[in-house]
């Protein structure tokens, strides 16, 4: 079926099977490989993207459900070569190590700060609870988010 949607403010039309995972369409059809696959079952958050203003696990969204939607992937977070404050904070404060969880972490953090510009410690933990990291021990990520909104 033909699906038309906006990805990072660009209209895209593709011919695809309706049950194809949004994750695979982004990576394989649109070559937006910033979105990662971790568990493939909605547990780890590596495939997080923004769909119509809400974060979702793109591994759990069949592409038929995004017809007419607006999607932001990690490639669309920076504006005009200017990194988002969250991305800059992850760089400055060691929030990324191997990098697999980072795109999802950054999107979850951007979403959190969009909804809640000065989150409490608990709110940061809840906002990122659906994103797993196996390298950092989370403290550097946590600190990066705090620094991002203090800027």
């Amino acid at each position: 079926m033909l699906i038309t949607f906006n990805v990072n403010n660009e209209s895209r039309t593709i011919d695809i099977f309706p049950m194809a995972r949004l994750l695979d369409v982004l990576r394989e059809q649109l070559h937006l490989t910033g979105t990662k696959e971790g568990c493939g079952e909605g547990e780890c958050g590596a495939c997080t993207v923004m769909l119509d203003g809400q974060i979702v696990n793109s591994c759990l969204v069949p592409v038929a459900q995004v017809n007419g939607s607006n999607i932001t992937t990690i490639e669309g977070v920076a504006q005009n070569d200017q990194l988002h404050t969250v991305q800059q904070a992850f760089i400055d404060h060691g929030g990324a190590q191997c990098g697999i969880c980072t795109p999802g972490m950054v999107l979850a953090a951007v979403d959190l700060l969009n909804r809640n510009p000065e989150p409490s410690e608990d709110e940061i933990r809840t906002g990122l609870a659906g994103n797993l990291c196996r390298c950092t021990g989370y403290m550097k990520i946590f600190e990066s988010v705090v620094r991002a909104y203090q800027k």
Partner: protein
């Protein structure tokens, strides 16, 4: 092994009427597909035997929360995020909000729906214990019309429920009778987010002159279905929540539930935790 997606059909009807007509035209061939948080996991694991789905996600008729003096009615596509942000649910139905906040993580809560949680029929689902304790009713519609039925009794066995192949679950409603009641919801799992429960208890009760009235208790992950524990409720009615009452209620509860050993926990642990949660609830009631 992952599924071969060309084998699957996911058709998007333009209205509820179209969806119901399709369900009627080929009974059993089409199944509804909402937020996908359960079905897509099975798809990826190659464990989704059914092939043809109706994408109901964009049906506006299945969204929205209506409040009247007597009831609150939620569209079947109400997400966990919708639940947590609704003021009447926050003030009068906190157990449902808590269940929603402890289901998956935020990305799951943005897609997972109340209706999906019910018809997926997992005995470990998080919102059904709260819905049972709130005396929820559900509305099923087909091309033949609509029927409301009590949620209690809807699940008849593991993954079995009283819904015909041509029917769609469209609404859930709860009576607004929680004023003055003590409410208790606790999910016990491996970690706060993402985990599936080992045991989950939702309970509501009122005290009338120190005596328990109108106790409603439901548990998840301790039987083939999420169960309302009517015998335990009856054992409490008219009694003071003292140590003796708690002891007899725990004894009744142990006969009423049938936990098993599985990947997440053991029968012994589940039984003990269920009794501990009931004790904690009744102690809260006394305080």
């Amino acid at each position: 092994m992952r599924a071969f997606v060309p084998h699957y059909e996911l058709t998007t009807p333009s209205s509820l009427a179209d969806a119901l007509a399709l369900l009627k035209s080929e009974p059993g061939v089409w199944k509804p597909f909402a937020g996908g948080t359960d079905l897509m996991v099975l798809l990826e694991a190659g464990k989704l035997p059914h092939r043809n789905y109706i994408n109901i996600w964009s049906l506006k008729e299945l969204r929205g929360i209506d409040v009247t003096d007597s009831h609150i009615t939620l569209g079947a596509l109400t997400t966990y995020t919708d639940v947590q942000t609704h003021p009447v649910l926050q003030s009068e139905f906190p157990m449902l909000c808590q269940a929603a906040s402890e289901t998956g993580g935020l990305a799951i809560q943005n897609r997972g729906t109340l209706g999906g949680n019910i018809v997926n029929a997992s005995p470990a689902a998080d919102s059904p214990p709260a819905l049972l304790a709130y005396d929820a009713e559900i509305e099923l519609v087909s091309t033949d019309g609509s029927r409301w039925l009590p949620y209690q009794g809807f699940h008849t066995g593991y993954k079995q429920m009283l819904i015909a192949p041509n029917e769609l679950l469209v609404r859930v409603r709860m009576p607004r009778n929680t004023r003055g009641a003590t409410q208790y919801y606790r999910k016990v799992g491996t970690r706060k987010a993402q985990a599936i429960s080992k045991v989950c208890l939702a309970a509501v009760a009122k005290l009338d002159h120190d005596q328990i009235s109108d106790a409603r208790i439901a548990l998840g992950s301790v039987a083939p279905i999420v169960i309302r524990c009517v015998q335990t409720e009856n054992s409490l009615r008219g009694r003071k929540p003292d140590a003796e009452t708690i002891k007899s209620a725990c004894a009744t509860l142990s006969h009423e539930i049938s936990p098993i050993d599985d990947i997440r926990s053991t029968a012994d642990y589940r039984l003990q935790v269920a009794k501990n949660l009931l004790t904690d609830f009744l102690t809260t009631l006394r305080a």
